[in-house]
Homo-oligomer: 200 residues x 2
C-alpha cells in the first residue's frame, strides 16, 4: 500500500461509485476559494484548481463546464442570506443593510462578488446567475422599504421597488469603485432621506 502524499499531504480521493463524490466537490471549491484569496482572479484557472485539489481536469469540467460556473459555485456556497432588520425607521434600516453588506464584501469571500459582476459582463451564464441573485436580493430589500411605507413614513407615490433599486445601485457602485469605507449611515441618509415625509 504505497501512500503518496502530495504538496498538502492530502490523500488522493477515489471514486465512490457511479455517483458524485461530495469530498471531491468540497476539495475543488476549497481550492478555488484559496486560490482566489491568494492570487486573485488571474490565479483562478482550471489547471491550478485541479492541481491544488488533486483532482482530474475531466472531473472539473464535468461539473463546472467553465471558469464562470466555478466562480458562481464558490460564491453560492459562501454567500449569506441577509435578513433585513427593521430599525424602526427607513434610514437606520438601510444603514444597517449597508453596514452588513460592506462588511461582508470586505472579506475574501465577499470579494468574489466583485469578480462575479465583472465576469458577468462577458459570460452569459454568469450574467444569468447574477441576475437571479440580484432579483432575489432586490425583493428582500423592497420588502424592507415596504415596512417603512406601511408605517406611513414615505412620501406619496414612492414605489418600494424603484427605491430599492436605487439603494442597491449605491451599494454596487461603492463596491466596484473600491469605496467600501463609505460611512453606511451617511450613505443611507444621502440615498433615502429624500423620500421620507417631512416631520411637522
Amino acid at each position: 500500500m504505497p501512500e503518496f502524499t502530495g504538496e498538502c499531504a492530502k490523500p488522493q480521493r477515489r471514486s465512490i461509485g457511479a455517483r458524485r463524490n461530495p469530498a471531491t466537490e468540497a476539495a475543488i471549491l476549497d481550492a478555488a476559494c484559496d486560490l482566489l484569496r491568494e492570487k486573485g482572479v488571474h490565479g483562478l484557472t482550471m489547471e491550478a484548481v485541479a492541481r491544488r485539489a488533486r483532482a482530474g481536469k475531466a472531473t472539473l469540467y464535468k461539473w463546472w463546464p467553465n471558469r464562470g460556473a466555478l466562480l458562481v459555485a464558490v460564491y453560492e456556497r459562501s454567500k449569506g442570506t441577509h435578513q433585513h432588520k427593521d430599525m424602526g425607521n427607513l434610514v437606520d434600516t438601510i444603514a444597517e443593510f449597508y453596514r452588513y453588506v460592506f462588511a461582508f464584501w470586505k472579506t475574501s469571500e465577499g470579494q468574489v462578488f466583485r469578480l462575479i459582476i465583472a465576469e458577468a459582463q462577458s459570460d452569459q451564464d454568469v450574467a444569468e446567475a447574477l441576475e437571479r441573485y440580484r432579483l432575489e436580493r432586490l425583493a428582500a430589500l423592497s420588502e424592507a422599504v415596504g415596512w417603512a411605507q406601511a408605517r406611513g413614513e414615505l412620501r406619496e407615490g414612492v414605489e418600494p421597488d424603484a427605491l430599492a433599486d436605487t439603494i442597491m445601485a449605491a451599494a454596487w457602485l461603492r463596491l466596484l469603485t473600491d469605496r467600501l469605507t463609505t460611512d453606511p449611515h451617511r450613505l443611507a441618509r444621502d440615498v433615502v432621506s429624500g423620500w421620507i415625509v417631512e416631520k411637522q
Copy 2:
C-alpha cells in the same frame, strides 16, 4: 519593390525614424476596436490585435504594456465628453443625461465601458484610469445638480456631490445588469424627485 498585401490589403507600415509612428498607433487602436465589436472581450488578445494591425508584438507591448492599457486607450479615444444641458428643472436635466449615456452605452464603442469596469475589478492600472474618468464625470454631473440648487429647486441640506453619486450609481447599475432599455425619464424621476422641494 515587391509589394505584399495582407488579409486586408493594407500595406505594411515601416519605421519613420526614431519616433513613434502615429499611423501604427491608429492602426492598432482600430484593430482593437474592430476585434471588440466582432468577437467581444475574449477576442481582444494582444496576438490578434497585432495580426490584424500587421504590427509587431514588440511594438504593441512597447506602447501598451498589457491588455488593460489597450482597453483604456480604445475607450479614451472614443469616449464622448458629454455636456450636460440644463432643461430648466432637475428631473428633465437628469432624464436627458440618462437618455444620452444609455444611447452611447448601447453602441459598440460604448460597450467597451462595461469591459473597462469589469477589467478594473482585477487590474489596478485600469482601476486608476476608471477612477479618474469617474471623478471627472461626477464633477460635471454635480455641476448640473448645482444649477437646480441655485434655482432653489432642491430641499434644504442636499449635497450636489452626494446626489450626483446616486444618479451615477443608478446609471452604472443599468449598464451592468443589461437594462439600458430603462425609460430615462422614469428613472430620473425615481432617483431625484425626492430631493425636489414640494410645490405649494
